[in-house]
Symmetry: C2
Subunit: 399 residues, 2 copies
């Protein structure tokens, strides 16, 4: 039986008082001259303007992408940060949270959330990206969100993993550690200890506030620049060892077959990539100046250049990068283009501080083979600006 709240109210006691409330809650169009109407009072929590409705796009129950086409700058709002999990988002009472660190250590210890917060804090802005962040069979009607929504950037805050490793006295012989999540998948990954001495952290803060549930509340591993699934969320256990643990996910899924009959294990670092976010499907443009905008990122450090082509990859011109360009963070690029009204294919190509150049699809397939698994695919992608101003994704065949 389906009963609308309104019907229900009308048939109930108290209909007069509550009916009035309901009427007041019916959205009213904004006033024609807002300066003639007293505005709304201060609120404990702000909300978006009614006409702004950016949303993630759930793909089944275990992933949702960031709406890049709706965003500005580099910070992804926390409620729009992509999510990816293997068994749903667990609910964790922060009072019951604990992290066990054991294995090849002098002093196995259990840390509560309050314990973790008592250590020296560190913050950094960085991207996270799922290694499966490419819609390979994308039709022309594909948005940047659908094509590559599984990357986002936040300011993360937490405790350096090296600090925790000093506290437990990690053995000099330990070279790997296992990170285990407390979700129903008990997601586990093996990570080299050297990453802890580089820039790994246990994060409990995101964009100024407590980390969000789907990002690992109350604490997650953060391995800047490394594939998303290694940044184990809802972190409950770290075990030190002298070898990788060869867990289910890292052997069965996160291993990349190559053309020379070998497989790459593990593919930790996310290669340089760029994504045009404007103009893209479904917007239309008009003749004249159009600013091509997008984001670029690399797990190897800083983006040093993003090239733009407006002729399908024949010629390239460097875009402007928005300072400050931060290591392992989304970098905003912009390029003013005078569109003459003819059909054009626009593309972007990222270059990072190692000199690595984002490959074409053909270059990528030359090493990975046509049967390449769906991970670590970062080809140059493009958009067709049609003569009528409409924009569609430039489809690519994946063999």
């Amino acid at each position: 039986m389906k009963v609308s709240r309104r019907t229900l109210l009308a048939s109930a006691a108290g209909v007069v008082a509550l009916g009035k409330t309901a009427a007041l809650q019916t959205p009213q169009p904004p006033p024609a001259d807002p300066s003639k109407v007293r505005g709304k009072p201060a609120k404990a929590l702000g909300t978006r303007a009614p006409s702004e409705k950016p949303q993630r796009q759930p793909r089944g129950a275990t992933s949702s992408g960031t709406p890049h086409q709706d965003l500005y700058g580099t910070i992804t709002p926390a409620d729009l940060h992509f999510e990816r999990h293997h068994a749903g988002v667990p609910e964790i009472d922060p009072k019951n949270y604990s992290l066990l660190v054991h294995g090849m250590v002098e002093r196995p210890l259990v840390f509560t959330l309050a314990d973790l917060k008592r250590f020296s804090q560190v913050s950094r802005v960085c991207f996270l990206e799922c290694s499966g962040n490419l819609g390979r069979t994308a039709p022309p009607e594909t948005t940047p969100q659908q094509l590559a929504g599984l990357t986002s950037t936040s300011e993360w805050t937490g405790v350096a993993l090296a600090t925790i490793f000093r506290e437990v006295g990690v053995s000099p012989k330990a070279t790997w550690f296992l990170a285990e999540g407390s979700d129903a998948a008990l997601l586990t990954r093996s990570v080299p200890v050297e990453k802890a001495h580089d820039d790994a952290m246990i994060a409990y803060g995101q964009n100024g506030e407590a980390i969000r549930p789907e990002q690992g509340y109350p604490a997650r591993l953060l391995l800047p620049g490394w594939e998303g699934n290694t940044n184990v969320k809802w972190l409950r256990r770290i075990e030190l060892s002298d070898r990788p643990f060869m867990t289910r996910e890292e052997t069965s899924k996160y291993t990349d077959p190559l053309t020379n009959d070998t497989a790459r294990i593990f593919s930790f670092v996310m290669d340089a990539r760029s994504l045009i976010t404007y103009p893209t499907y479904p917007v239309s443009v008009t003749r004249g100046w159009v600013e091509i905008q997008g984001i670029a990122w690399t797990g190897y450090g800083k983006i040093t250049r993003v090239d733009i082509s407006t002729d399908g990859g024949t010629t390239w011109t460097p875009a402007k990068l928005q300072p400050p360009v931060l290591s392992k963070a989304h970098t905003r690029f912009r390029h003013l283009w005078k569109w003459d009204g003819g059909e054009a294919v626009i593309m972007s190509r990222a270059v990072d501080e190692t000199g690595y150049v984002q490959p074409t699809r053909a270059q990528l397939l030359a090493t990975r083979g046509p049967g390449a698994a769906g991970y670590h695919l970062n080809p140059i992608t493009g958009w067709v600006v049609k003569a009528d101003g409409s924009v569609v994704y430039k489809q690519e065949a994946w063999g």
Copy 2:
């Protein structure tokens, strides 16, 4: 007549189906072992963890402060950014929004929101601070939010004001412009044209998404480092002139009396300031290592040093600043302190790239006088850590 929704449902048709829904919505405690329960599916919009409830604190209808004691890093979540307005938050239909730029210009023009978005974009992280951001008569039970909640930091995106000024052809003789908001207060301020050629922008993006209603949706003036009210929100008109307009707010309110019988008009730039955010009322600490944390900022550029005193201002030690230190943005500082269990007064003191040192209350009053208006007060403030570990605000008399 007061009727709860629940009572209402029970007395209405459809009670079985809806009663079931209501029961499902009753909050359940988190599972003891989250790894034994399938988690929640992906969602279009994330929400905070149920136990995390940061909130702004409305002070009457026209202002609310950021909960600094609950935050990490430097970015303020958009729904927690402080708000201050003179006649409430207007509702503006972005389709009807327009900005008139006229006065001493070659081509008076009206820009729609789409027009503004078509120009080259620029992004920057910066703080905004209300010039009245000090609770002078604060009792010991004062949080950082109550003391100085009217400052926040966002990544702003928009069009450089200089770009718009080129488009309309601002006269070389124009030295000032009026900025007018479309709220019911029609808030107006005079701004020197040179700020447009420095770093002013018309912002329509905030922390990655469209600017929030209480921040000026759909477009506001952004004058990095200048007192909050000059960053006119809901911007509807800019008029170029060869003199300041001497508007009501800038003459009656935003003028600061000095001790030498003159008044300072105008006080645009916010001086350097720092605020300890941990440990502060109402937290308690325990003996041993305590990391003193906080934020510092200056309208004159970058923070170069924050000194910490744990003995009421007798001796000072530089804190660590979290890189990247950005110009005119909140900068996170941290200082590890070994608390011996005795009563202590902790204080922070910001220094900026001009060499300016945040003054004591006495130094500030020496130039501003005991009758100083409530604007541009940036004294060193402190917190008392009592022997029992409780922390209270160190009260200061304001003469």
